[in-house]
Symmetry: C2
Subunit: 132 residues, 2 copies
């Protein structure tokens, strides 16, 4: 099994794999432009440099999503690499009573990996039903 790439390495590889390759300045500029529409935070190329070298932890979820969009990477994969799950949970839980109830029950049940997998299947079925 190949050693898992770090978040920073992954971003750097994606950036260089673009045609044409982007510089840190270009990428950071584009990500910043995307982010300013949704969020109030910026994204400086020097920050990107540190992230690519894993000298700082991965950026905010908003920044990761903007990166994924600019680089054509998979947004979920990048979020997972950055271990950002609990952050997004908060906002979803605020919006949705159903989400709160569900997660409280799920955690209380102490599910196994297999059972989480079954739930994921249920989710996929719900999603497909919607798209029909």
């Amino acid at each position: 099994m190949a050693a898992k790439k770090t978040f920073g390495q992954t971003i750097r590889d994606l950036r260089k794999a673009m045609t044409p390759p982007l510089t840190q300045r270009e990428l950071a500029e584009r990500v910043a432009a995307r982010m300013r529409e949704e969020d109030r935070r910026g994204f400086d190329f020097t920050y990107l440099s540190k992230i690519e070298n894993d000298r700082l932890p991965p950026p905010s979820a908003a920044a990761i999503i903007a990166l994924a969009e600019e680089l054509g990477g998979d947004r979920d994969d990048l979020l997972a690499l950055a271990d950002k799950a609990p952050a997004d949970l908060g906002s979803e839980m605020k919006k949705s009573e159903g989400a709160r109830t569900f997660f409280r029950s799920a955690v209380n049940e102490n599910l196994s990996e297999e059972e989480w997998h079954k739930l994921l299947d249920s989710l996929k079925r719900i999603k497909n039903r919607r798209e029909e």
Copy 2:
């Protein structure tokens, strides 16, 4: 349907319903004692006062749990009232790859209340299957 009590009102009512009723100073002191074992933060009675009057948002999850324990309230109910994720959700996410994957997908799908409800049904079915 009775109007939902705020977090602050709920805490105040629980505090006064104790036998004997606690003062803000007493309760805050006990909560602080409990918290210092787990956490590094304190809990001042003037902070409690503001919380009971809903002049500040509910405290940290650790403080809410300590409050629930001192007051004999239901910990998950209080957490839900405060719009906080269940306390152990964070650790659940760290432990379980399946939980992370499921959660990421669920949040990205932006589910409706009804869809969350369907998921809860799936969860119940899984749980029942286990108990047979």
